[in-house]
Symmetry: C2
Subunit: 238 residues, 2 copies
């Protein structure tokens, strides 16, 4: 795999973000704990983070199936947060504090190899996130973490959430790249298989700690073009 | 003017590109001369560049008034190029050579202060182009020239050419900025007045050499919030 099947004809690379580029779980827990200390809250922030993420796909599904009109991820996160505050019996947060907590998703830290790997890949490719996160979320995250994107493409750019095919064809369409000149990078097999359906090349990066340190990475599918331990290794396999 | 009227509440800055960030005329002339040498063409490339730019507003106007459906700037430039090749009696260019010449607009050099000024402004603001140039043009330009955009917003993002109000409200809408928390920067008064109509703050940067060395900058309008000699001075006046 690797050089033979992908190699120099790859012109653009798009990256899943939550779990692939950044550690969403540790970031949300950290922000929760900060708020908890300040407000003297007794909350299991690990469970809180997992519950919040658990509401992610169902909330997007209501947009995908047309039950609600286009709503960006900040707004979906905020609606989920209101539910969580009830479920975890958290009271006494001001509007400003709720908004700040909701934007924890703007302040997630990258995995240790993400910035270095992206810098290397940027030398020979156009690099962009391809995330269901909204544009301001991705931009604020990039400014804080130093993610060196060339352009910020998002589900919000076309009002379609992954795995809608239009999302995967966004970079090829805008840059006049053939789908096979574009590579999708993700730590999630389902995302890659959806990209592959659209003709994109695929790279799987293992993120065993996504759901907590000491977890296990997903089993990669044999149809995936490149499998890498991290972004720096991926940059070398291109 | 300056600190009193704009100052720290500015969160986002959007920049006109052709003429404001980059020297389109010198870049097109340089690319034309390179091609002319290679193909032994006898062409006045200064006139060629001016004619090409002269077709810019009329070509967009046909999109704005609905005469033709949405067409991005690469395609408009290409149609204008075909006309120019006839007018300047340039023959014998291959499809690849024509495409390369058309993408001269992707390879324009910044004014000497642009990169340093943008880097400074990026420290405290979200910075983006707000150009009628298409996204791939702006991204290729930024990669080549080192323009450190946080995000690349373009007329192509919403299929509306400036001065359509929707273009000026793009960053405020995506980032939840009030219009007056967003500043439009341009070397062209008409662009700034259109942005001001939408509630944006405005900064005028003088680019006297846009139409050739030794030219004169436009006269700024008294309603403009900041007037600066260049991007570095602008960064200090914020």
């Amino acid at each position: 795999m690797g050089k033979e099947r992908s190699g120099s004809q790859i012109k653009g690379m798009v990256f899943d973000v939550f779990g692939t580029v950044v550690d969403w779980r540790a970031g949300v827990i950290r922000e929760g704990e900060e708020l908890g200390q300040k407000k003297n809250l007794d909350v299991d922030w690990h469970a809180f983070a997992d519950e919040w993420r658990g509401k992610y796909q169902p909330s997007m599904e209501r947009v995908r199936n047309g039950e609600v009109e286009w709503t960006n991820l900040d707004s979906l996160h905020r609606a989920s947060l209101e539910e969580l505050l009830e479920e975890f019996e958290i009271e006494g947060l001001s509007e400003v504090e709720k908004d700040h907590l909701n934007r924890a998703w703007h302040r997630l830290d990258p995995w240790p190899d993400s910035v270095e790997g992206l810098r290397k890949m940027k030398g020979n490719h156009v690099i962009s996130p391809l995330s269901n996160g909204n544009i301001s979320l991705l931009v604020n995250m990039a400014k804080r973490a130093g993610l060196p994107w060339d352009v910020v493409l998002s589900a919000e750019t076309i009002h379609r959430y992954k795995p809608d095919p239009e999302t995967y064809l966004l970079m090829p369409g805008l840059f006049d790249f053939a789908p096979e000149e574009t590579m999708m990078v993700a730590a999630h097999v389902s995302d890659l298989l959806a990209a592959k359906e659209c003709g994109l090349k695929t790279a799987y990066v293992k993120r065993p700690d996504e759901f907590g340190v000491g977890g296990e990475a997903e089993e990669p599918d044999s149809s995936i073009d490149i499998v890498a331990e991290n972004f720096v290794e991926l940059s070398k396999k291109l």
